[in-house]
């Protein structure tokens, strides 16, 4: 069975894998960050957030020298599963580190039922 833990990410049980719920792509083991299974882009935030005004630094958009837009894409379908706004070179965020043993217990009954139905 799969359990949706974000808009785009499922955890598959009992395999304990991250799965894109738009296309089914495998994004790696769930005891590691799904970001390791994504394609990642370092973008100038001004490509997305329009510059309003004439000032080089204060223009209602992000200053690309101070912060970068990091986009995480599903390698299967190109869905953008998450974004981060980080100073250039700052480590990424391991945002969801679920305790998989308790997760499996919590969803275990459904997982077992799912297996039986599948059989």
């Amino acid at each position: 069975m799969r359990v949706s833990v974000t808009e785009y990410l499922d955890i598959e049980l009992p395999s304990r894998r991250w799965i894109c719920n738009r296309c089914g792509a495998d994004l790696g083991p769930a005891d590691r960050s799904y970001k390791e299974g994504c394609l990642i882009a370092n973008r100038n935030p001004q490509e997305v957030h329009p510059v309003i005004g004439t000032d080089e630094h204060f223009n209602f958009s992000f200053d690309p020298d101070w912060v970068r837009l990091v986009e995480f894409y599903c390698p299967g379908c190109g869905t953008m599963v998450e974004t981060e706004y980080l100073p250039p070179g700052h480590p990424l965020t391991w945002d969801i580190q679920i305790d998989l043993d308790s997760f499996e217990i919590r969803h275990g009954k459904d997982a077992q039922n799912s297996l039986e139905i599948g059989q």
Partner: protein, 719 residues
């Protein structure tokens, strides 16, 4: 055990987290002082007294609900009374709170307004009980009125002022009434309270721990005169102080009427039982979520006097029915401005998110914080000492709240409480504090209700609301501009739901209403304080984009009234049009938001926005018709519709070309697959990058403060 630093935390999950050595975490970075006892801030709920235990047993679950509803109606009535009596802009527009405490000083029932005010201003009451009640030079009696505003004794900043009064029945203390909020002017270096260039506590005006200012419900004239001689707006100060006292008395009288009906034990016990039940309900809610470790990080781009990167990471460990919130790897104290937060403000501020979203449906009181352990690295900008300036500590604590909102949504998605999943409310704060003589002829200094027009973050199933409320108090209204024009030395010309200033996504964030204002005939003084001028504190979630930065924008030497009267063309007074097209002649100034007090002349323009909420989900999943609706409502530009949302449409009819849009979005996904790099390849290039040294002056060790040489691909891994 967290105090010692370096120790491992308890619990299986927490075994993977190690705290840095040499720092405090579970209490303040400062100790006792006159009127100040940090132990009272970290101690948690007081045990129930014999009287409370007696009363708790008399209330069934249903009877407790009825009782709680009654006390809630008392504090909500008090909120309306206080707002009606006050002439201070901050109070009138909802930056305030009214509440009833237990006899031991724990906040049991709070009104809407700002919840965290009453999660903060209770240690002063406990201080009175511990140090003054039995002191023959002070004592505690029916009719006593106490005042306090010192941020290191349990408050926010010196401009938030509170009054508290004991509720006695036949000589027995059964509770406390408390009323207060953002009064503003406090004798600080800048008129109106906020002093963005203050670097020490001594530049931030009055500091009162807990002071008895009245007996038998009458204010002492000598103390009142001392206050009025210490501030720039004595008329407003005196009026507001009396409003607080009158409102406290109303609460006290209403509670005593309940005592006549129910008896003292049931009222005292009922207040205590509300806290116990709330704590149990919070634990039940938490236990329904997935165990794990969740993280989010936020940055600021200034310290007050100067620009510079500041870091505030948040790690939440959810295990069973409890949460541990850790701020570790925080930038150090900098002594360069007022953006320093106290341990108790970090803890209490969490209530803004928790009470409104995470614990949605549960009664807001301090019992909800019982299952949550708070560990804030200190000394740091988030857990600072006494001597630094504290006036904008909320900038730091709000970064933690935004992190918590992102984390909370990730915890709640797979739970029965998915309804609360959303991107954070806008916190790209920009506050304009006007000072001068108002239309009534007296001196006034404060901000306007524009603060209450921030955009809400997008929700998991719908867009965020435009101009939704105040970050710290979502249940607020901006008030009438005709009235604020009379009360403050400024004139509001327009309030506009503005363009391209929210977060884009499958569901978009709410846009703020931007206020365009001018100085009156006599001119006015203006102080501005803010954060997030080059970056943002309004993240998106699950692929949604952030609400954008929000710098200061004023136009000087413009004489807007003269130009508008002389032009034949219609001039659109919006942030977007003014900034982009410069339709009026004048000096357009875009700048860092923390600026000292400056005089502005008649007709100068102030463009005052408070930021838009973050988006939810991938922009390529937004319904094309909804994008067209955004365009029709003027909240996005056609460039955003075409280049960000990738919708193909007819510019004149705003009709979507469905097949062409599908093709363009397919192309956008292909562009992503081409642009994106596998993790290892990305990290190899990414880890070579680093902000320039001038941006890191106040940051601490790069990239992980207090961990020199940290080089892991993910932050915060210390096992």
């Amino acid at each position: 055990m967290a105090r010692a630093g370096g120790d491992y935390l308890m619990g299986d999950l927490m075994n993977s987290i190690r705290l840095h050595e040499g720092f405090v975490y579970d209490r303040h970075a400062y100790g006792m002082g006159p009127g100040r006892d940090p132990d009272l801030l970290v101690g948690g709920l007081e045990p129930p007294s014999a009287l409370e235990l007696e009363g708790m047993e008399t209330l069934s679950a249903v009877e407790l609900e009825v009782f709680q509803h009654k006390i809630t109606s008392i504090v909500e009535e008090a909120r309306d009374v206080y707002m009606a009596l006050s002439i201070s802009e901050g109070i009138i527009t909802g930056d305030m709170n009214t509440s009833v405490f237990t006899a031991e000083g724990d906040p049991a029932v709070v009104a809407t307004g700002i919840y965290f005010h009453t999660l903060l201003n209770y240690p002063q009451v406990k201080y009175i009980l511990k140090y003054y009640r039995d002191n023959p030079t002070v004592g505690l009696s029916d009719g006593d009125v106490y005042f306090f505003n010192d941020p290191t004794c349990g408050g926010v900043h010196t401009f938030d002022m509170f009054v508290s009064a004991p509720i006695f029945h036949e000589g027995v203390l059964i509770g406390w009434a408390e009323v207060g909020g953002h009064q503003g002017e406090c004798g600080s270096m800048s008129p109106g309270g906020f002093s963005p260039t203050a670097t020490t506590r001594w530049e931030e005006g009055l500091h009162v721990g807990a002071l008895r200012i009245g007996d038998n419900w009458e204010l002492r004239q000598d103390i009142l005169d001392f206050f009025l001689n210490s501030v720039r707006n004595p008329f407003v100060f005196a009026s507001d102080l009396k409003a607080r006292v009158a409102t406290c008395k109303r609460i006290r009288d209403r509670v005593l009427r309940e005592v006549e009906r129910r008896g003292a034990a049931q009222v005292a016990g009922g207040l205590r039982k509300i806290l116990a039940v709330s704590s149990d309900l919070a634990r039940q809610r938490i236990s329904q979520l997935n165990d794990g470790i969740y993280r989010s990080v936020m940055f600021n781009d200034g310290v007050g006097l100067e620009s510079g990167l500041i870091r505030l990471p948040t790690t939440v460990i959810k295990e069973g029915d409890s949460l541990t919130v850790i701020n570790q790897g925080v930038s150090p104290e900098n002594n360069m401005g007022p953006q320093h937060c106290t341990w108790h403000l970090m803890r209490a501020s969490m209530g803004v998110y928790l009470f409104t979203y995470f614990f949605r449906g549960l009664s807001p009181n301090i019992g909800l914080l019982e299952p949550i352990r708070t560990l804030v690295e200190g000394p740091s900008v988030a857990n600072c000492g006494v001597e630094v300036a504290h006036g904008e500590g909320t900038t730091i604590s709000a970064m933690n709240v935004q992190n918590l909102h992102v984390i909370g949504s990730k915890m709640l998605f797979d739970s029965p409480h998915k309804l609360s999943v959303s991107a954070p409310f806008s916190r790209n704060v920009m506050i304009y504090v006007y000072a001068g003589v108002n239309s009534y002829g007296y001196r006034a200094a404060n901000f306007t209700g524009t603060q209450n027009l921030a955009g809400q973050g997008a929700r998991f199933d719908m867009d965020g609301e435009h101009a939704s409320g105040f970050y710290w108090a979502s249940v607020t209204d901006a008030g009438e501009v005709e009235e604020s024009d009379m009360r403050l030395p400024m004139i509001t010309l327009a309030r506009v739901i503005d363009k391209d200033v929210h977060g884009f996504g499958k569901y978009r964030g709410g846009t703020p209403s931007v206020e365009i204002a001018s100085a009156p005939m006599a001119g006015c003084d203006l102080t501005t304080r803010g954060a997030s001028d080059r970056l943002s504190h309004n993240p998106g979630i699950f692929g949604g984009y952030a609400g954008p930065p929000n710098p200061r924008f004023v136009i000087k030497n413009v004489d807007v009234f003269k130009q508008l009267s002389e032009t034949r063309d219609e001039v659109e007074l919006s942030q977007y049009t003014l900034a982009k097209r410069h339709p009026l002649s004048g000096n357009y100034v875009f700048s860092y938001s923390s600026q000292p007090t400056e005089h502005f002349n008649y007709g100068d323009l102030f463009v005052h926005g408070v930021g838009g909420g973050g988006g939810y989900g991938d922009v390529l999943e937004r319904e094309p018709d909804d994008v067209m609706e955004d365009l029709k409502q003027n909240v996005i530009s056609s460039d955003v519709a075409r280049n960000v949302y990738r919708v193909v449409f007819d510019s004149e009819t705003l009709t979507v070309d469905g097949p062409a849009t599908e093709d363009d979005r397919d192309m956008a996904r292909q562009e992503r697959l081409k642009r994106g790099k596998p993790f290892a390849e990305f990290m190899e290039e990414w880890q070579k990058l680093r902000p320039s040294d001038d941006k890191l002056r106040y940051y601490g060790d790069w990239p992980e403060p207090n961990s020199p040489g940290y080089s892991k691909p993910f932050w915060g891994l210390f096992e």
